[in-house]
């Protein structure tokens, strides 16, 4: 057991802290796609090597040598300073790692740099009305005609489709094959003729996701990632990345600290909420859960640095535990604020621009999205604990 990172890393941490102190004024409160201030911040972070850190410079990344500890220090310091880590989104968090792993050289050259810069925004077209948890039953079809795929069908719950320039999606190219083997992973421009986008309002009352309809949409056959029929495998390369990105324990820690501050400020009949035993106990329970996930994350990290350490179960529980924890944490903040915690939209008593109510609902969305909690539990039980699969499903 050695939990020190070493002198080189202490120096690096000091460097990150100095950067944050000097530059945080330029950071947007939340990095948003297509927002000029966010794009400028992103460029600054790439130049500094704090985002897109290990992606080769030839593809627009920072081109630093892989060093998990340095990446972690950056994440820790940005979270504790409450400063944006730059642009996220499904292009950067999912498509870029996919192309790095299984894309062609031409695809990497074309897509990675503009995506990292924030000039090319992506959406993820996986789910369909009939294919959510059972994603492999998706039916949107792509049939080869000359040099093109011709796509027909419908996607749903497509986050950011309305602002995206491109979509990466799963379509059925081999209707005769068993369901997991008939899927391909395609890239397509959102302004291709035949695509219709209809916004969906979600429970936060935002229009963040959409239905996307395809009618005879023609996409060059070169825009496939991996081989025909390999789409399921390609998608699985990065599913893990998505699940990790939905439940960052450093972000939970920053949120916990903000909540503690609110509890020191808010009063009820003149008493501070932090002095109320019932609320204090709830805060401490959540703090314990945040700590468990932080140290679990450290263990997962360690297993990547040291051969022979197995943290697969530790990693498998992260999406389930992380999203449930955040939902609970945000809920406590609302209870702490009481009636003021109901404030929304234009309400003058809104705290932090309504982020607590928003996140309380949004994390319920993330409990569902990216593989529901029930599906996560199935995975933990079957792949993690080796319990027998439900018999009918095994053959479905």
């Amino acid at each position: 057991m050695d939990l020190t990172y070493g002198p080189e890393y202490d120096a690096f941490r000091a460097e990150v802290q100095a950067f944050l102190a000097a530059n945080r004024a330029h950071a947007p409160a939340d990095a948003r796609p297509k927002d000029p201030a966010s794009i400028r911040w992103q460029a600054r972070l790439i130049a500094q090597g704090y985002t897109a850190r290990i992606i080769p410079a030839a593809y627009g990344g920072a081109g630093r040598p892989p060093d998990i500890l340095k990446s972690r220090i950056i994440a820790e310091e940005f979270a504790s300073a409450g400063v944006s880590m730059g642009l996220g989104g499904q292009g950067i968090s999912m498509l870029v790692p996919t192309l790095l792993e299984v894309g062609t050289e031409a695809q990497r050259a074309q897509f990675i740099a503009p995506t990292l810069r924030g000039d090319m925004v992506w959406c993820q077209g996986y789910s369909e009305p009939g294919a959510g948890s059972d994603l492999a039953s998706l039916r949107t079809s792509a049939i080869v005609d000359g040099d093109d795929f011709v796509i027909n069908g419908q996607k749903i719950w497509t986050s950011t489709a309305h602002i995206a320039d491109w979509m990466f999606c799963l379509v059925r190219t081999e209707p005769q094959a068993p369901k997991h083997d008939g899927i391909s992973f395609l890239l397509l421009r959102m302004d291709t003729p035949g695509i219709e986008i209809r916004p969906l309002i979600d429970m936060t009352m935002n229009r963040n996701f959409n239905e996307v309809f395809f009618t005879d949409v023609r996409v060059p056959v070169t825009q496939i990632v991996g081989k025909r029929g390999d789409g399921w495998k390609v998608a699985n390369v990065i599913l893990k990345n998505e699940r990790d990105s939905l439940s960052n324990p450093n972000a939970a820690l920053a949120r916990l600290n903000a909540l503690r501050d609110i509890m020191r400020e808010e009063t009820i009949d003149g008493d501070r909420l932090i002095d109320k035993p019932a609320f204090r106990d709830r805060l401490m329970r959540i703090e314990g859960r945040v700590m468990a996930l932080l140290f679990n994350d450290l263990r997962v990290l360690s297993s990547q640095l040291n051969h022979g350490q197995d943290a697969s179960l530790a990693r498998m529980v992260v999406k389930l535990q992380g999203t449930e924890l955040r939902h609970e944490l945000e809920r406590l903040a609302i209870d702490v604020m009481g009636e003021n915690g109901l404030a929304y939209g234009s309400n003058p008593y809104l705290r932090d621009r309504g982020s607590w109510q928003y996140a309380y609902m949004f994390y319920l969305g993330l409990i569902i999205g990216g593989g529901t909690s029930q599906i996560q539990k199935n995975i933990i039980a079957e792949r993690g604990l080796g319990l027998p699969r439900e018999s009918k499903l095994a053959t479905a």
């Binding site: 948890s133 429970m203 009820i268 003149g270 019932a278 209870d335 009481g338 009636e339 569902i368 029930q374």
Partner: protein, 351 residues
């Protein structure tokens, strides 16, 4: 012994159910939530006798009981009905009956019963006052602020001051500033009242009656949560039967079955709790405030669990506006904080 509802009570709730099912479907609720007017629905429930429920027939009311008011509130919650009730039909008539003078009763109760006046209620200075709120009386006039006023779109308000007093304040009183407050629950308008030497009419017998008035308001809000949670459970069960994944109804997965069963197992006992607590206002008046507090604290926790779980059963559909489930989710969230949060209520009853 017989612990159950009477035929009259079932008739009463059936009539409200039928009315709301026909005239306040989700499409209409959405329209009102988006700023449309609810006048016809308010007229409709007035015709059904809802504001008159707790008012004696000598004042033009129907003279029913606290339990009846809870049963109606449950139906309103089930339909997320965007109409005034808890302040106008429960708190105000009870305050006037128990704390008002005969003159005040004659002046206001018939108007409430007939729908000629709507009352809001601002009790927040007595239910856990937040910074910046509190109402003080000087020479019979009010100063300060009360927030989270229920049934805000009203002609007059019942206001609790920070001591033990209750007052009637007219909506157009001099020195009264009214500020609507947007919340997550758009089916019920709330707002803030700011008083600057505002003329008010005190209710002479407030001191001894306040606990019961507040308790009845709490019981009604809690009943609203029960109704809203029951709706969410019913929807989840229906959806679990219809929605297929992996070639079978999702309700055939034990995970989904257990989510539904757990919701039912938590929710079902709250119905008897509501009957008992509602009935206690007549049968065991001394115990009613304690029962109402426990009922509201408990149903708030159950409601929070059901709201989350029923949404999860719907998958992505639960998170969107398409099936509108979030109106119920938010109504449950609203009721949880109003007139005393669970922590506050448990603190009250533990003393």
């Amino acid at each position: 012994m017989e612990f159950g509802l009477s035929a009259e009570q079932r008739l009463l709730t059936d009539s409200v159910v039928r009315y709301l099912r026909d005239l306040a479907p989700l499409s209409r609720v959405r329209q009102i939530a988006d700023g449309g007017r609810a006048d016809d629905l308010i007229a409709g429930i007035t015709e059904l006798g809802l504001p008159a429920l707790l008012i004696e027939d000598t004042h033009g009311g129907v003279g029913l009981t606290a339990l009846d008011a809870c049963l109606v509130a449950e139906v309103l919650g089930y339909h997320v009905a965007p109409v005034p009730f808890v302040a106008n039909a429960v708190i105000a008539p009870t305050a006037l009956r128990l704390a008002g003078s005969p003159t005040q009763q004659r002046a206001y109760l018939p108007k409430i019963a007939a729908g000629e006046m709507i009352f809001g209620a601002g009790l927040s200075s007595r239910t856990g006052a937040r910074a910046g709120t509190g109402v003080h009386v000087r020479n019979g006039r009010l100063s300060g602020a009360t927030r989270f006023v229920l049934d805000f779109a009203a002609d007059a308000y019942i206001i609790a001051d920070s001591d033990a007093g209750l007052h009637i304040v007219m909506a157009d009183a001099a020195g009264l500033e009214r500020r609507a407050l947007e919340t997550i629950d758009r089916t019920r308008p709330i707002g803030e009242l700011i008083f600057t030497d505002t003329p008010a009419e005190p209710l002479p017998n407030a001191a001894g009656a306040f606990a019961t008035i507040l308790a009845l308001g709490r019981a009604a809000l809690a009943a609203d949560t029960l109704g809203a949670a029951q709706y969410m459970l019913d929807q989840a069960v229906d959806y679990a039967k219809q929605r297929h994944q992996f070639g079978r109804p999702i309700g055939s997965f034990q995970a989904v079955k257990h989510m539904c069963a757990e919701m039912a197992a938590n929710l079902e006992p709250t119905r008897a709790f509501m009957w008992y607590a509602g009935n206690s206002f007549a049968a065991l008046p001394d115990e009613a405030p304690r029962l109402a507090s426990h009922f509201k604290a408990h149903i708030s926790e159950v409601g929070t669990f059901v709201a989350k779980t029923a949404t999860e059963v719907h998958g992505g559909m639960g998170f969107t506006d398409l099936v509108g489930l979030h109106y119920w989710f938010k109504r449950i969230g609203f009721n949880r904080q109003m007139l005393g949060s669970p922590e506050r209520l448990r603190e009250d009853v533990s003393g």
